[in-house]
């Protein structure tokens, strides 16, 4: 049995790395990957609590999160491909069409 605090600390570290990735990088694909990291940090916390509380509900949530992540990636990557076609770049600081 792994102590709950360890898993939660790991989850917090993973989430922070994801947040930093979103803030620091400008490549839309890497930002997207960082978002996946954050989702996985949440999943880890869910599984840790499920194990601690002898319940499967947490694992079911992770299952749903994975489904949503798959859907999100499919649509998100399609959008990125489209943006690249229009603007020839996926650096988010150069995609500033709405700024006028």
């Amino acid at each position: 049995m792994i102590p709950l605090t360890w898993s939660l600390a790991l989850s917090a570290v993973l989430f922070t790395i994801g947040v930093v990735g979103v803030l620091v990088r400008r490549n839309a694909l890497v930002i997207f990957m960082s978002i996946e990291l954050m989702l996985n940090a949440a999943n880890l916390a869910f599984v840790a609590f499920a194990q601690q509380m002898n319940s499967l509900d947490g694992q079911i949530f992770v299952f749903f999160v994975m489904t949503v992540a798959a859907a999100e990636v499919a649509v998100g990557l399609a959008i990125i491909v489209n943006v690249f076609r229009l603007r020839e770049t996926i650096f988010v600081d150069e995609i500033n069409l709405l700024k006028g």
Partner: protein, 174 residues
């Protein structure tokens, strides 16, 4: 044995996740993310979530990351090398905010908090994790499960429509 394995997987997870954020080449970032997902699958296995561990590899490493790689190769990206004051400011702010977030969660973890009520017995231990998940998924969570299928359908249609691009009246690609 298990705590050591957990520490090993955790170290690998943190290291690979950092490399995802730090590496300049998006393909390498994606590959490190695959490694991160695999070590997370290992942690799930240690937490007796065998089904999720395997699904994690199938869905994330086998499907989502392949899609990422496919798009990176399709777009033929160059290395992301940036310089200038603006970048330095953004980096400093980003890491600073990250440290603040970590500090907050550390404080939350070490200060007083308590778990809710713990279920008395393990649900369906004998028949394995996958069977137990299946039973809960198809009884208590049946409606969300059906909704997810609609969500996937919407995502599928959306991805195809968006990626195909606009077509003119003569069927010319935009």
């Amino acid at each position: 044995m298990v705590p050591y394995l957990f520490l090993g997987f955790a170290a690998m997870l943190v290291a690979t996740a950092l490399m995802v954020v730090l590496h300049k080449n998006p393909v390498t970032s994606a590959l490190f993310l695959v490694l991160a997902f695999c070590s997370l699958a290992g942690i799930y296995l240690l937490m007796h979530a065998e089904f999720l561990g395997m699904v994690q590899i199938i869905v994330y490493a086998g499907a989502i990351m392949v899609l990422f790689l496919f798009v990176i190769m399709y777009l033929n990206l160059k290395h992301d090398i940036e310089t200038g004051v603006q970048t330095a400011v953004r980096r400093g702010l980003g890491w600073g905010l990250g440290a603040l977030l970590l500090l907050t969660s550390g404080t939350l973890l070490t200060r007083g908090w308590s778990m809710g009520p713990v279920l008395a017995e393990l649900p369906a231990q004998g028949e394995g994790n996958a069977a137990a998940i299946g039973k809960v998924l198809y009884s208590r969570y049946l409606f969300p499960f059906e909704i997810t299928s609609i969500l996937l359908l919407v995502a599928m249609v959306g991805a195809i429509v968006i990626a195909k691009g606009r077509k003119g009246p003569e069927g010319e690609g935009a």
